[in-house]
Symmetry: C2
Subunit: 683 residues, 2 copies
């Protein structure tokens, strides 16, 4: 078998299947709780086809995920091992799979299934097939599972017919009971906190297991998130010990960060643990409670991922699973803003990966979702929440009526994403069309919402009446997206971002954007302080992963309550991991200056630290940076050149030598560092 | 349990699930062969809800087909037996089912699941749930199966390691091998003809079974259509005897027909057998080969069904399964004409059943399919085959290019169907809109295609050039739909229908419409001769069911060939059963003169027979008719009055007495017969 054949499927099918399987695993207080939005299924029948010319005879073996109807050169055949003479051939495989999704593997010496095959759900359209790493006949893509590894408890305390187990830190996986003997029922109550595991029916998750003449080890069929477990059972049963099988996505951490401040290092490590725990089949919001993919949450995970794993497949899986099928009848996750984050995530994905193939695959889905969004604009050409829409923005009290400036800013960037894709894919008409819509909406938004007196974008307009309230949301996004000129950016910095009287943000979710915007206006020192206060605050409360919300003014078990339930809060929530992104992007200072890191831009900022160092993954290899006062060392990616930017007045030196020029904006210098080298600049 | 609770589901889901299961069972020469069109899946998550007020306390037990998240009065509960106090309640059940489709059964004394519940696929829309006969917790709708009954072979001949079995007539079901002993492989080759069963690899269907240390009876897991089976196996295996489990839809034959001509009686019986064999989970085209639902074929089955079973559920199941989901991307079965038959079938369904609930259920699907059809009109406002469309019309050589008059006539009737539904459902704007489109297209079609010289509609117009060829298709449909005035109808009768030089129709499929049109212009005597010649011809060749095509000029095994294969033809094809319809509608003469047989119209025609008698099912009970020269006896339906129409000049008498008046058109008399009586009219 010389051909690098892969199992292939219709683009999106694997992810729709996987997404539904993953998101429907949520249980809540003993009953299943699947998502409350439309969850689409993959195709049921797919035709896979390939025309090829063999230079030599070949034998092709076909494996199908489903029932397969095969034709070779127009002739039906029940054979699954095809002997083909040299010359031109046409292989046609129609696969029906009502249970999971259709896929095929065709393996020969010279020819095999791969992304050059076409796939069609038999709707008069075909497109290049998609594939993953599944290569062997028994590696069916619908048997995809995460890895597991045994993990021991840190402490087990026994009191009669009850055991309380502590695994030492937040973890995820399958409970294992050792040497269960006898018959009876056992309840395992899981807790992210000790209080939750002890809370009985007030906990969020538990399992009831029934045993009949058990004699041996038992592994739960359900994976759960927990640090603590409390087991209770009735008399005739005995249980010797408890451990777990940790379930995880085997993906290496390529990003790294260390600095002179040990608390920051622990924050980075805990953020990495948090993101790793919630990076699974998909980027999940939190691992205990809903375990659903949410577009706004996933968007942040993508950005953090570019500074930790650089796992493109995971970004793509989540993007497909979130999008679902057509016709579009509601916003992603039912949330207005979450449709927009989906677009913007694709914009960022392209900036980091230059993966044009993915843009081509997903492009039709961008168009239909955008048409849905545009059709719901009001008479002024703006979006507002319709009765069916959830206008989320953040878990904070605010006016969600009418035209909200924040939503227009997100739509604007979404339109730019569609225009970008259209341009890259040679669809010039649509590129122009969507770019014009973006430009018009950006201008309209600034005209309508910019309040010259307050020096900020106001929050909303209701029934034509502009309201005067200023919130941070639109202002920080407009700043980060570069929609504000220097004068307005400065006004926003002063009047909104650094304004102590502005409404405080209390979710790590929106703190992500707030701190990003502060970094963009050079407030690294301020941001470091905020990170230490906010995330350090959770660590000081014993957190081993970062939380869904954190309000420093709360105390004790108050921290665990949310949604009106005492343990409703997720204590391992992906959006809590944003220091990964902030430290990588704005302190190590590594960003792509051309799509896919064809060139990296490196502008380290110490933010008051004596030194910092770390690594940032790129498609071309990792970039390593060490910065201290007066000295920056960069190891460029094996295949990626970089521009090192050093602000300040003294002209730097570089060893080995590199081209050095004054920065275009006059502030400092730029050094051109070739790929695969290690350079030390002194200034 | 006093409440008549039923399992409920989202309308269409049961049928999408069932349709895919049924249509994917086709095998062809040893390999599966699923349909070549997009086959949609049911919803994956459905919310079922009901608000109700209990006069007394009740206990409601919930069963779910899938994983269920329940809330009572807004509170989640893992309980599946709910104790409810008297008063107002809101029961909310979200069901996830990735394997089949979501459904629930809620059973209490006072309240239970039924069609008054709402169902939503969580797309911001809800609609009344649908249900069937499934009532008990263990009668899950996804366990729906047809009935089986043992059937013995008529003859078994043994020759060494081979058995040839004849079941005497066409049948369908699961082969049963008695007392299989030993190990080895066995091949069963099925044949609708003896020649096919003996043809080895040239047969259309076979099964290979493997046995290891077998000792006992064996039933094949696959149902097949056959009259003959040839079994061959290798030495170590022994088989004692062969029988089968006939699989069938247990539905009574309510229609009946007998007359003075025994050949016609045998034709009616064989037609009834043919329709019964192909009336299964869905109305299938033929039971041997593709076993798919085809809209054009199903349309005829519906009409025959109204004269044999009057099984509304089966019409609805097939209608849903054919339609599939949204977005519409192709014509039904990929065939232009087949989209139109789907609409027209709903028109006829309403005429026979007055089932307004079904119209309301399916109405959104009419709108989206019609929008698809209309969007594909050309600049002249007519439909023509686009590159992706299959323009079928009939298995006969003809020009399928450009604007074909036949297709416009079908679209016209389809538009009338949508207008009718809109009117009945109170959607006045759309009713007017679609009626105008229908009127305009009808006028345009007659203007463009009517050839005054030939006195007929010509077949087509290609690139603006009207062609002069006349085919029967458009002419007979225009006549049957009442689109021709008396002058044109007479011209069509003479120049097309009774014109010996017109292209002959060689499929029972189009003979259906041809003979119907002839009946409509009073050619019953001619039609009887045609039925005896054509269907009688198949009987004289030994047919035990009617065929997909029949060409009297062929001989021997030529009759079995089709699609370039020696046994490609289906010998039990639903569209072969049209005498059921013709004899019931145009000889017994029973039709609904108001929707749902609120009033029946009965106009028996002897067509040269000395006498005929029979029964026609209606929603109000069966109507029985016996006609002989000068005397007609009618037993009206238990709950349905009828108008008996007797053409001719003498004023009839009636016993018991009935109101008699001259027919509105001056030709004969009309008798008003009340429901539930038996009347004899003499004239």
């Amino acid at each position: 078998m010389n051909h690098h054949a892969r199992w292939i499927w219709l683009p999106g099918d694997f992810e729709l299947w996987l997404g539904a399987r993953v998101m429907s695993r949520r249980t809540e207080r003993g009953q299943p709780n699947p998502p409350f939005w439309r969850l689409d299924r993959p195709a049921q029948i797919v035709v896979f086809e390939k025309r090829f010319t063999l230079a030599d005879a070949d034998t092709v073996t076909i494996s199908a995920q489903g029932e397969c109807f095969a034709m070779i050169d127009g002739q039906p055949t029940a054979d699954r091992v095809l002997t083909l003479a040299a010359g031109a051939h046409h292989l046609f495989l129609r696969v029906y799979n009502p249970d999971t999704f259709p896929a095929v593997l065709a393996r020969g010496r010279l020819i095999g299934s791969d992304r050059s095959w076409s796939a069609s759900r038999q709707n008069h359209r075909s497109e290049p097939a998609d594939s993953g790493d599944f290569a062997a006949p028994d590696e069916r893509p619908d048997r995809f599972k995460l890895a597991t590894a045994p993990q021991a408890a840190v402490s087990v305390s026994r009191a009669g017919q009850a055991l309380t187990v502590d695994f030492g830190r937040e973890t995820f996986g399958y409970l294992k009971l050792h040497q269960v003997s006898g018959s009876g029922s056992l309840r395992a109550v899981y807790g992210e906190s000790a209080e939750e595991a002890a809370a009985g029916d007030e906990a969020e998750t538990w399992d009831d297991f029934q045993f009949a003449d058990a004699a041996g080890d038992f592994v739960s069929p359900h994976s759960r998130a927990f640090r603590f477990v409390r087991l209770t059972w009735n008399r005739p049963l005995t249980v010797d010990d408890v451990s777990m099988l940790r379930e995880y996505l085997p993906v290496p951490r390529r990003g790294a960060f260390r600095c002179a401040d040990d608390e920051l290092n622990r924050i980075w490590d805990t953020a990495a643990d948090t993101l790793q725990l919630s990076s699974r089949e998909l980027f999940l919001d939190g691992i205990k409670r809903d375990r659903w993919a949410w577009s706004g949450d996933a968007y942040q995970s993508y950005l953090m991922n570019y500074y930790l794993f650089f796992d493109n497949a995971l970004v793509k899986r989540t993007t497909w699973a979130l999008r679902g099928g057509d016709p579009v009848e509601q916003h992603l996750n039912t949330i207005l803003d979450y449709s927009f984050y989906w677009f913007i995530g694709i914009y960022d994905y392209y900036q980091h990966t230059a993966d044009r193939d993915f843009l081509a695959q997903i492009y039709p889905k961008l168009l239909t979702l955008m048409e849905f969004c545009l059709a719901r604009r009001n008479g002024s050409g703006m979006v507002e929440g319709r009765p069916d829409d959830w206008v989320f923005i953040d878990w904070a009290p605010m006016d969600k009526r009418g035209e909200i400036s924040f939503e227009q800013i997100l739509l604007c960037r979404s339109l730019e994403t569609v225009a970008l894709c259209a341009r890259l894919l040679g669809d010039a008409d649509r590129a122009g069309h969507y770019q014009r819509l973006a430009d018009d909406l950006r201008a309209l938004t600034l005209t309508v919402f910019w309040d010259e007196q307050q020096g900020a974008l106001v929050h909303n307009r209701v029934n034509g009446a502009l309201r005067r309230d200023v919130t941070k949301y639109a202002n920080m996004f407009a700043l980060s997206f570069g929609y504000l000129d220097a004068r307005r950016a400065e006004a926003v910095k002063t009047n909104v971002l650094l304004n102590e009287r502005a409404q405080k943000i209390t979710t790590p979710y929106m703190r992500f954007y707030e701190l990003e915007a502060l970094c963009r206006v050079g407030q690294q020192r301020h941001v470091l302080g905020e990170i230490k206060n906010y995330w350090g605050g959770m660590l000081r409360l014993g957190a081993t992963s970062f939380w869904e919300t954190y309000d420093p003014t709360q105390a004790g078990a108050e921290h665990y309550a949310m949604y009106g339930r005492p343990f409703g809060k997720s204590l391992c929530h992906a959006w809590g991991a944003s220091p990964l992104y902030l430290l990588g992007k704005y302190f190590l200072g590594v960003t792509p200056s051309a799509p896919g890191y064809a060139r990296a831009r490196i502008e380290p900022k110490l933010g008051g630290l004596a030194w910092l160092e770390g690594a940032v993954p790129t498609p071309n290899g990792d970039i390593k940076v060490r910065a201290a006062d007066g000295e920056i060392t960069v190891a460029t990616a094996a295949a990626g050149p970089a521009t090192l930017v050093i602000r300040g007045v003294r002209r730097p030196t570089c060893a080995p030598a590199a081209a050095i020029r004054a920065a275009a904006d006059g502030d400092g210098y730029e050094l051109d560092l070739p790929a695969g080298g290690k350079y030390t600049a002194r200034y």
